[in-house]
């Protein structure tokens, strides 16, 4: 796993790690371009992989996941989207993922025919995609190279705004490095996002609990007691 002695890793010692952006402000939303807005309740499918692609979507509020399935039922959650992020682009004429809400959500839906000719739409599109692409790159590192503990720690860190990146200044308060977290995903969804099994996720969470890094108030309600310790476990430090 370690290539420490390779020429390359020495050569790159100076590289830095970008801050994970919070929800990015990309200016306009699709609502400004004539999109209609729909409300979905939690755990509803917006479209299925293979459906004819007719609209482009933007999360207005709530959380949405995109996933793909292999024929034998293995599932990979490929993106978890928050407000301001877009989905539903299809290279061909069919959606390449299934989109499902994780929470109650409000979604802007823009007819694909309105997309091509509008510079502002294209600009927002390019900006959002570039941002989501960076997250996908980071996620590829997680899936390809991180251990189970590192994956779960990284996942939890993603959920804290303004921590864990280059700009991270440590805890705001010396004595209190805690943070309260509400998970909007089941263990199975987390597992499918992190490329693990539900049992492994559960075991890692129990382990973090045992080590005093987190406190599990309910299975979807987690208090991070030592954010800095957790951050040390992401593999990025």
């Amino acid at each position: 796993m370690a290539y420490l002695d390779t020429q390359e890793s020495i050569r790159f010692a100076r590289r830095v790690r970008p801050v994970r952006p919070g929800v990015q402000d990309t200016g306009d939303t699709f609502a400004d371009f004539g999109a209609k807005t729909s409300a979905y309740s939690a755990h509803n499918v917006i479209y299925y992989e293979g459906d004819a692609a007719q609209r482009l979507f933007e999360v207005a509020s709530g959380t949405v996941m995109l996933f793909k399935l292999l024929p034998d039922g293995r599932r990979q959650v490929v993106e978890v989207l928050r407000p301001g992020e877009i989905f539903g682009l299809a290279g061909s004429n069919e959606y390449e993922c299934t989109a499902e809400t994780l929470t109650d959500a409000s979604i802007h839906e823009l007819d694909l025919r309105l997309v091509d000719s509008n510079l502002d739409v294209q600009r927002k599109l390019a900006k959002c995609l570039a941002n989501q692409m960076r997250i996908l790159h980071e996620h590829a590192v997680l899936l390809g190279r991180k251990s189970a503990v590192e994956r779960v720690a990284s996942f939890l860190m993603y959920l804290i705004p303004n921590r864990g990146g280059v700009g991270c200044l440590g805890p705001e308060n010396e004595d209190d490095d805690g943070y309260d977290l509400k998970l909007h995903m089941t263990r199975q969804e987390i597992a499918d996002y992190l490329g693990l099994t539900i049992e492994t996720v559960s075991r890692v969470v129990s382990d973090l609990k045992r080590r005093g890094v987190i406190r599990v108030d309910r299975s979807d309600q987690i208090h991070l007691r030592k954010v800095c310790s957790l951050c040390q476990m992401t593999g990025m430090h």
Copy 2:
């Protein structure tokens, strides 16, 4: 690994698998927008992760890889780019990956200041990013859910145009289901792309050879003897 009996996999039984596109024709290239074009020799770094981002790049000819490193030297190749594909977008002001040529390559380089205001550039950008994003999604499935054999088989199939997708019609010729392949990546690069170790990649290749699915003429020169068999091993059938 199998979720065959879940409600979900039944619900999605009808889904289809999109054809992996070959190099996509997105109309204009950056050259049409005033980009300068540079030549790079094989295995040269175009920019490092963390460098100040000033340009947007498009592969004109050759192959380029993007990768990220963890502090302990673990590497993940996050994209392998072919002509027409773009890279160098930075959400912030720094490149988030290192870009390195795999082969001799010719690269269009467009000043970032020329990007924002041009509808055609934005259109190409959005189109390319959407396409590359689909590939990243597919790759996330590979990294998160596929076995070593499935990863290598998928990798080899990617390198054959017009095979392996929904539109795949099988071999052109009943008796000959072969294809000659030139790899432009070392075993280490392939391993870092597939989230495996070099030893595992080597073992899988040897195994495919033993099973008569491929013939290894040189380590970077592989003849696929039974494309359909190989395709069956990708986990997508």
